[in-house]
Symmetry: C2
Subunit: 332 residues, 2 copies
């Protein structure tokens, strides 16, 4: 096989992206130089933050370049190696998704053990996604046993972990919001004490009904009306871990901001944004605890898998529309 | 003297309060019962948070009642006592301002030493006002030496302390905003590295010019455009201590909220509201450190004193209009 297919950014989306913003390009399978490996990707991660990188603005990660392959978390098998410690057949995690074959600097790759879990788990429950949930809930928001937790985007890859980890760590009540009746059902099956579809009425009213004693910890994946509702429903000394604001990623207007923000004073609330990259010190503890829960059947995770690199743009658009349950992956 | 004059809330303000919302009422000087003292007030504190208590809404302090005296921090001399440990002539701090004579439960009063500092200082630099600045800057926002600090409402009682404490604790750069050219001059005399009048142009532009390397700590007394500007100018891992949002206390519209709130994620910002009452554990350290700075001439404080209990409403309205420099007090 000498052909490699990859997805390029053809143009920058204005508002909602469309298939036209992407282009499938055929190139040659690369050859490794010193210190490099070539990886045949098996899975790539599809994540909401990628939308931000499609804009040409300075942020915590550089923007994607036009007419060049996109990138992002991926996992695959080493097929050629010029790097010490890597041999063909190894399974590795790395940062060059959106392509069939990746030429990776070995220091940007990490070997994983495919016998411990289905390999896709290293991109979801045991990977950055799971660590995002774990660190945001336990480190950033410092959830304590007996508290009430609210998570938005709760049927997504991060949100569904947040709710389950909260229960396993002793939360008294866990409430989730999602975008369809089927997702709400799934949340209840995952052990959420209450869940609602945000299309069914004002978020604040639904949240108050679902958490009559108030919210101590809010894990925000959505922003906008959800954040305002959470601020309104939070108890004194409540903490919000701000992970994402997907409600406004495709907005071309200045986004709605919580009009009740002054409540943070009287309630002594803390709103804290975070990136998982700052919480790597928790990785060992995270893997140990999560693997134990998985082994004991206490933790479930959903994956929505789309087949074929050519379908990656479609998978991304579906993610933005909320068509996934749990982690959105492309099987390359 | 058998007459006591006090200020009642005659009606609840809609938007900006007016003199008509208050009424001067004459009553009798009270007589203490068991465990009580009578205090002839010498000074009363006039504070922005009192505006919130004029609305009939549940908050962290109960609303003022109509046709009853307002209350708030005050200091005076005991003139009659039926409480152990208090004798006429003692100087005490308590919570029943807005009146000439206060009937106080002794457990709500605290004796202070009038020989250590001018007594009014116990309502400003050495009192709740100073502790608000100290706790917000050092505990809530956890300012570290070498950081850049921005404070809004910087010529007010709290703001002017924040800026000076920041410099004394090793801030690399302290920037203040205020509402007049005279206040800006005063901030520079107090040792602020830069100061600007927010009427002179967009806050964000002025702040970026005054803090070209960004802001690490923001102490918010104002909210609205100031908070949005601070979020825009903050460096990664910046912290905002949210103390007040005076810009919107008299608003009858839903207030403007920071449209750039999503920046808290990529910058990993923390926004934390606080009330000084949660930080009483710092009081001893605070008094010791502040008194030392005062003694060494390293800390200046301004007071704007209005004479006569009948002028208390006027003093409060002046405070909301920003007519004070430093602490607004009524000398009763």
């Amino acid at each position: 096989m000498s052909t490699n297919r990859e997805i390029h950014l053809a143009s920058r989306p204005q508002g909602w992206p469309t298939a036209d913003n992407f282009r499938l390009v055929s190139t040659e399978v690369p050859t490794p130089g010193p210190g490099q490996i070539v990886v045949r990707n098996q899975y790539m991660s599809v994540d909401p933050y990628m939308r931000g990188r499609m804009n040409d603005v300075k942020s915590y990660v550089p923007p994607f370049q036009l007419d060049a392959p996109l990138d992002g978390g991926a996992l695959g098998e080493v097929v050629a190696s010029e790097a010490e410690g890597f041999t063909p057949g190894d399974t590795v995690l790395h940062g060059l998704g959106w392509r069939e074959y990746a030429l990776v600097d070995a220091k940007g790759a990490r070997k994983v053990d495919p016998s411990l879990a289905p390999v896709s788990a290293y991109l979801s429950v045991l990977g950055m996604t799971g660590l995002t949930a774990y660190a945001g809930l336990l480190d950033v928001a410092a959830m304590k046993p007996g508290e009430t937790v609210f998570v938005s985007g709760a049927a997504g890859a991060v949100g569904s972990m947040v709710g389950q980890i909260a229960k396993l760590r002793g939360a008294a009540r866990v409430v989730g919001s999602a975008g369809s009746a089927a997702k709400v059902e799934r949340l209840k099956a995952l052990g959420f004490d209450a869940a609602f579809d945000y299309h069914d009425g004002p978020v604040y009213e639904q949240l108050k009904a679902a958490a009559p004693d108030g919210v101590d910890v809010y894990f925000d994946n959505v922003g906008g009306e959800h954040l305002e509702a959470a601020i309104g429903a939070m108890n004194p000394h409540g903490r919000a871990a701000i992970c994402g604001m997907i409600a406004q990623y495709n907005s071309t207007e200045p986004p709605a901001a919580p009009r009740n923000l002054a409540l943070v004073i009287g309630k002594r609330l803390t709103l804290r944004g975070f990136l998982v990259g700052d919480h790597g010190h928790l990785r060992d503890q995270f893997v140990q605890e999560m693997a134990g829960w998985l082994r004991d059947g206490k933790l479930s995770y959903d994956e929505t898998v789309v087949d074929g690199i050519e379908k990656a743009p479609e998978a991304f658009l579906g993610l933005l529309r909320g068509e996934n349950l749990g982690k959105m992956l492309v099987r390359v």
